[in-house]
């Protein structure tokens, strides 16, 4: 058994390693330089790398992103952290009108390695302004990479791959994953974009899960194993690009597809995955594809409603069992 780190600790380690490897890496965000760090993901960096490279930024998200863009143009590799993805919405002009299209409009000459970490709140009454996950928005934009790591191992590898890569990248981090512990190598390693992880093999149903839905998916798969249903759990890890081949191969085997996405159902990532497979799958569907997501509603604050709002193991088990009957 190797060394264990939490999801938050893995992010911190990746950041620190990239910063020590390359002077180009700087981090910006509200409160990055206090001892709590951003939920523990930036703690201590300022002592090691100083305030020039660990920059507590004014509460001005659009400017923060444009600043990162300008610094990237000037040879840096800026990492931005948003305590909540919702705050980042102020910066969508910087992202959609500038960052995402910079390479394109430079005629492919200039790359901007800006990395944006967006934390998504869940639970404890975050309510509608602290819990949105707009990964489908980012994935819709050409010119951006989008990842949604579900494990400490991936959190580290994807962050390093992004910080030392050349493309603007948005990493969606589920706040409720931060305390998950796992074996994480000390060395600097990469997790590539567009390569899914098959977390559990199975021949009956392909269950594609994203971010916070991965641990739930695995628990559901274990549950169904007991009644003889073999679920193949695919952790997509990155959304843009995503691993079409892994999903297609799995569906070719199972003939059943369900996508679990921790976001609103309609016009989201789950729909893209189902459609792409529907366009490419040449076999016969044993059951119609399904999506398991949040309802098309903003997030309620009340504990009792949070329970209804977020899909849970029970609901997944039910849906998957229905698919086996169909």
């Amino acid at each position: 058994m190797g060394r264990e780190l939490t999801y938050a600790g893995a992010i911190l380690e990746a950041t620190s390693q990239a910063m020590s490897k390359s002077d180009q890496v700087v981090i910006m965000g509200q409160l990055v330089d206090y001892s709590s760090g951003v939920f523990g993901t930036t703690t201590g960096l300022v002592n090691q790398y100083g305030v020039e490279r660990v920059r507590d930024f004014p509460v001005a998200e659009n400017l923060m992103t444009q600043t990162a863009l300008g610094m990237a143009l000037n040879g840096f590799r800026p990492l931005i952290v948003h305590q909540r993805l919702d705050f980042m919405i102020y910066s969508l002009d910087a992202i959609a009108n500038w960052l995402a299209l910079w390479r394109f409009k430079s005629n492919g000459k200039t790359n901007l390695p800006v990395v944006i970490r967006a934390i998504v709140g869940k639970g404890w009454g975050q309510g509608p302004q602290h819990s949105k996950s707009l990964h489908s928005w980012f994935a819709h934009l050409p010119g951006l990479r989008v990842a949604i790591p579900a494990t400490a191992y991936d959190a580290k590898g994807i962050l390093l791959e992004s910080l030392l890569g050349e493309s603007p990248t948005i990493i969606i981090e589920g706040r409720s994953l931060f305390s998950m512990k796992e074996e994480v190598p000390e060395e600097m390693y990469r997790v590539r974009f567009g390569k899914a992880a098959i977390r559990k093999a199975g021949k009956d149903i392909t269950l594609v899960a994203l971010g916070m839905m991965v641990p739930i998916a695995l628990r559901v798969a274990a549950e169904l194993e007991k009644v003889g249903v073999e679920v193949e759990v695919i952790d997509l890890r990155t959304i843009s690009p995503w691993d079409e081949t892994a999903v297609l191969n799995s569906v070719q085997k199972t003939g059943r597809l369900v996508v679990a996405d921790p976001a609103w159902k309609s016009f989201g990532v789950a729909g893209e995955i189902v459609t792409t497979i529907a366009e490419r799958f040449r076999g016969e569907w044993k059951s119609r594809p399904r999506r398991i997501t949040h309802p098309d509603s903003h997030t309620p604050m009340s504990m009792s409603l949070e329970k209804e709002y977020y899909p849970n193991e029970l609901k997944l088990v039910e849906e998957l069992q229905e698919m086996m009957k169909a």
């Binding site: 409160l31 509460v59 001005a60 975050q126 309510g127 302004q129 604050m301 009340s302 009792s304």
Partner: protein
């Protein structure tokens, strides 16, 4: 007018304890009301703070406002029911200021059906439409919306005004300044109340802004402004009183910057002291110069302190709070909501009344190319 040129978070402490509160600035019944309202708000917040963990039922982030009672108390005596009030995440003081029902605040925090928003919004997004109170957690957004309401009021030539309360942190955002540009240009009936408590979460204003000079910066945008020591409640009262009067009379937008301080952590009951963003000297200074204590002393000096009235008031406050807790705890949790209905209105009464039903129609395929226009 009072001399306030010296005011800034850099200088307040160095001048020593604040000695300038004068009960005579306001009528005795106002002085008493200020004390009562501040004490009421403080007691509410302390009760919530203490119950947070033991109860483990307030399952949402709460930004307590202990130490910052003077602005809400003054507002509570000065706003009219028909005025609009907008708050940021630190909402309880403003909810209170608008006279919105405290029971519904408690129930909302407890996530209950009987809450101001049926448990959908929580502390940082709470609103109460009936009393024209609104809040939201995204910084500076509510200030812009308040300007929108003020635009409507101006079109209607209404005597109502729109008020936005926010911290100095919100002024980092561009959204704040584009609002000021518009409010100044349109001379909107808008009162901007900036509670400058020095910090945005842990970050000092001077880590984020060139200078502690918000009230100065807004002036060339066409916004009148005044800064006050925010813990001097009679002064705050008079300042806002005159301000509101002038706005109602058409003098245009006004920003009141009130220097004050929060005692608790930025959010929640846990101590955030390990982040070492403020000193205990600073904290002690502000606790010594707390708005309630300052007023208490002033009332005593002015012989306006009647212990039996005070005791009576305190008892009523305690009863009220106990009642609020009882209401919140006994209320039911929301359940079985229809998500669709909650997010979308499907009735269209006006359209039903005024619009004819659709008919079939032709379709012209001779689409011309786009033409050049002003881009």
């Amino acid at each position: 007018m009072i001399n306030n040129e010296w005011l800034s978070h850099q200088t307040i402490q160095s001048r020593g304890d604040y000695k300038e509160v004068r009960a005579e600035m306001v009528a005795p019944e106002i002085g008493f009301s200020l004390w009562r309202q501040m004490t009421r708000l403080r007691t509410v917040e302390q009760a919530l703070h203490e119950e947070y963990h033991p109860a483990d039922e307030m399952r949402c982030p709460i930004h307590f406002c202990i130490g910052q009672e003077s602005i809400p108390a003054a507002l509570s005596l000065l706003v009219q029911a028909s005025d609009y009030l907008f708050s940021h995440h630190r909402s309880h003081g403003y909810f209170f200021a608008k006279g919105s029902p405290l029971k519904e605040l408690f129930a909302e925090i407890y996530g209950k059906e009987t809450g101001a928003n049926g448990g959908k919004a929580g502390s940082q997004d709470i609103s109460h439409h009936e009393t024209r109170f609104y809040s939201g957690a995204i910084l500076s957004g509510a200030v812009a919306i308040a300007a929108g309401v003020a635009t409507g009021l101006k079109i209607r030539k209404s005597k109502e005004i729109s008020i936005a309360g926010f911290g100095e942190g919100a002024t980092d955002e561009g959204a704040f300044w584009e609002t000021l540009n518009y409010a100044g240009k349109e001379q909107l009936p808008l009162l901007l109340v900036c509670e400058n408590n020095r910090y945005a979460t842990y970050s000092d204003q001077l880590k984020r802004q060139f200078n502690d000079n918000i009230s100065e910066r807004v002036k060339p945008f066409g916004i009148r402004s005044i800064k006050v020591f925010g813990n001097d409640s009679p002064l705050v009262y008079r300042t806002i009183e005159e301000g509101i009067k002038s706005i109602r009379e058409g003098a245009g937008p006004l920003l009141v910057e009130a220097y004050t301080y929060r005692w608790n952590s930025h959010v929640g009951p846990e101590d955030d002291g390990k982040n070492e963003y403020r000193t205990s000297e600073e904290m002690n200074f502000w606790k010594r110069n707390c708005p309630i204590r300052l007023l208490e002393n002033a009332l005593k000096n002015a012989n306006q302190w009647n212990q039996s009235d005070i005791d009576k008031a305190k008892k009523i406050i305690d009863q009220e709070i106990a009642e609020c807790f009882r209401f919140a705890k006994e209320s039911a949790f929301p359940a079985g909501v229809c998500w669709k209905e909650l997010n979308e209105e499907d009735k269209t009464p006006l359209a039903d009344q005024w619009l004819a039903e659709e008919q079939a129609c032709t379709f012209d395929q001779n689409q011309s190319d786009a033409k050049l226009g002003p881009y």
